[in-house]
């Protein structure tokens, strides 16, 4: 017994799982029970998710473009919110799938699951055909915001355009951090997933941690819902990185939702119908001097493009180093280096985890340097991307386009169908216009 006690009091060697006490040789016929762990759940539900996505997209496109029914779209939207949002917990979603795709394309060690590919590609293909019907009634994040938008106010066009650029920046950053293996930003800062999972109801201890765990996300979600009462779909319009891709594809879509089912009669009734500023008015011919000013401005902007790209690239390169600190290995290397040089005394969880592996420090430093190098390149590319986005936006705003009718802006129109009932031609089609003969 004294020997046993001495053994206990010995300082624990760092070697992990050392067998200090041998497995006893049992004489009573005791047999070791086998180690039992439950198997992974079958992925049948994931295939059902993909099927549900395809059906919902087909239905949304039919309801928006053919049936032209806002009410039916609303019902489909609520169903999508219930299934993809509350039942499936908002995971996996098309927005988050961007990160799986970026990681798969740039890291050969990552085998992307089939569902992530399907959730990324199918809505893109549908958008190329019919416009953003995914946003209208399939995306659970969009649905939640759409349902709470009870008193939408009009956002000034300049603010709308400016904030709209954030989505492209977010897209670029999400791709950078996912491809370098640092973080899945979109999931980490998804404002609605905490609401889908009703985190406060099931996680009393998560509520206790001020900004740790899921509480920060819950606060974020509640904030978006509150803002969303007065500003329709703020996440969709200004932040959604998947929406940024859909904007580009929707511009070129084969077919698209129209405000009027027939010819526009320029009645101006639909002008204020859209809470997303997505209805464009017909243009009036500008007098000649104004056009000249426009052309000069465009020429100036074209000269400015290389400057914006170069400036963005430099700024991004400068941000590469701070960005790389989001990566676990870089954080660990920094901490270990500080402890090695004596700038910090004592260890923390992160450095303890490294010492436990008993790897040489140089190996960790080399690994962190390699990741830092990837962030230098990635940061530069992100900067160039942001410069490009700003340049294209400025040029786009200064190019003069003629429009004869009230039309939805194909990029920002979410195909929600709110404008249909404002159009008298539509009302005539539905025979709900008072004072009109019902049959010819």
């Amino acid at each position: 017994m004294p020997i046993l006690v001495a053994l206990f009091l010995m300082p624990a060697p760092s070697a992990f799982g050392a067998e200090r006490f041998a497995l006893p040789k049992f004489k009573s016929g005791y047999e070791l029970p086998p180690l039992h762990v439950p198997p992974a759940a079958s992925d049948a539900l994931e295939y059902l998710d993909v099927a549900a996505l395809a059906v919902a997209l087909a239905l949304a496109s039919y309801l928006a473009l053919r049936a032209r029914s806002r009410r039916a779209l609303w019902v489909l939207m609520a169903a999508s919110l219930a299934y993809f949002g509350f039942y499936r917990g908002g995971c996996i979603c098309s927005i988050g799938a961007i990160q799986n795709v970026a990681l798969a394309l740039l890291d050969n060690g990552y085998a992307i699951p089939f569902t992530a590919v399907a959730f990324f590609v199918i809505p893109l293909a549908v958008t190329l055909l019919f416009g953003r019907t995914f946003c209208a009634a399939v995306c659970p994040l969009g649905a939640l915001q759409d349902i709470v938008a009870v008193r939408p106010v009009r956002v000034p066009a300049w603010l709308d355009h400016g904030l709209g650029l954030l989505a492209y920046v977010y897209l670029g950053a999400a791709v950078l951090f996912a491809a370098t293996g640092a973080a899945f930003l979109i999931c980490e800062y998804d404002p609605f997933v905490a609401i889908f999972r009703l985190v406060p109801l099931t996680r009393p201890n998560a509520m206790m941690e001020a900004f740790g765990g899921s509480t920060g996300m819950l606060v974020l979600g509640a904030g978006f819902v509150l803002v969303g009462l007065f500003i329709a779909r703020p996440y969709c319009r200004w932040l959604c990185p998947y929406g940024a891709i859909l904007r580009l594809l929707s511009r070129a879509s084969k077919w698209h939702v129209t405000i009027t089912p027939d010819e526009c009669v320029h009645c101006t009734l639909c002008e204020d119908a859209c809470p997303f500023n997505a209805i464009q008015k017909p243009t009036t011919d500008l007098p000649r001097p104004d056009r000249l000013i426009d052309r000069r401005r465009l020429a100036l902007l074209l000269i400015l493009v290389p400057l914006l790209l170069a400036g963005g690239g430099c700024f991004g390169r400068w941000l590469g180093e701070p960005f790389s600190r989001m990566h676990f290995t870089v954080q660990q290397a920094q901490r270990v280096r500080l402890e090695e040089t004596g700038q910090i005394t004592g260890t923390d969880d992160i450095s303890d985890a490294f010492y436990k592996t008993q790897r040489p420090r140089e190996e960790l430093y080399a690994e962190a340097d390699a990741i830092g190098g990837r962030f230098d390149i990635g940061g530069t590319l992100l900067g160039v991307w942001v410069g490009l986005v700003v340049a294209v936006k400025l040029i786009h705003l200064s190019v003069y386009r003629t429009r004869t009718d009230y039309e939805p802006d194909r990029a920002t129109c979410l195909s929600c169908g709110r404008c249909f009932k404002y159009c008298p031609v539509e009302r005539k089609r539905l025979k709900t216009l008072k004072g009109e003969p019902t049959t010819p």
């Binding site: 795709v101 699951p113 698209h256 027939d262």
Partner: protein
């Protein structure tokens, strides 16, 4: 949509741009899909804890989106010493001689009494985990690693895990012990063959 079709068929600069954009968009989307088809094809990935990296910080119990956490303690009995005085079972201040006076609950390390102890023979006891009660805090594992064989370890239980695209415990893990593993080999078990 008669007007829309007429407008689409007219050859204007705007329609040419749109058609070019459509062709370019279709090429990019199919290209990406094809590239991903060659990269993917996995049955999917699930989250798991590498017991060699885990430092039992306690985050597994509090950061999971589920309550209680999907992470539970697993006991590899073939690595266990079947000790009488188990430092995963008894709290550090516990003195065996005083065990008659100290109530059982106060003498135990596990906050939920999830470790069950059963006498086998001589000085040997079998320790098993009641999964229903375990909250994945890792307190017992720390005790076992420090003074015993390290036969206890944390694992993500796949009958509970909802497999979030980004695991919220993985985000909070201070030792980068969470990793994605193939769904057909979803555990990293100590003392078993299929370590990844």
């Amino acid at each position: 949509m008669p007007t829309d079709n007429d407008a689409n068929n007219k050859i204007t600069r705007r329609n040419l741009f749109r058609k070019g954009g459509l062709a370019a968009g279709a090429t990019v989307v199919t290209g990406t899909a094809a590239a991903l088809a060659t990269k993917g094809g996995s049955d999917g990935l699930v989250w798991q804890i590498d017991p060699e990296k885990c430092i039992q910080c306690g985050n597994c119990a509090t950061y999971c989106v589920l309550d209680p956490s999907a992470v539970k303690c697993v006991h590899a009995l073939k690595l266990c010493g079947y000790c009488d005085l188990c430092f995963a079972y008894f709290s550090p201040g516990f003195e065996p001689e005083a065990s008659i006076e100290v109530p059982a609950v106060e003498s135990q390390l596990c906050p939920t009494e999830a470790i069950k102890r059963r006498w086998i023979e001589g000085p040997h006891y079998e320790y098993t985990i009641d999964e229903e009660l375990c909250i994945g805090c890792g307190k017992c594992i720390k005790g076992c690693n420090n003074f015993g064989n390290g036969s206890l370890f944390l694992q993500v239980m796949h009958n509970r895990c909802v497999n979030c695209n980004e695991c919220s415990i993985a985000e909070a893990c201070p030792s980068d012990a969470f990793q994605r593993v193939p769904a057909d080999h979803p555990y990293l078990l100590k003392g078993e063959d299929h370590q990844v």
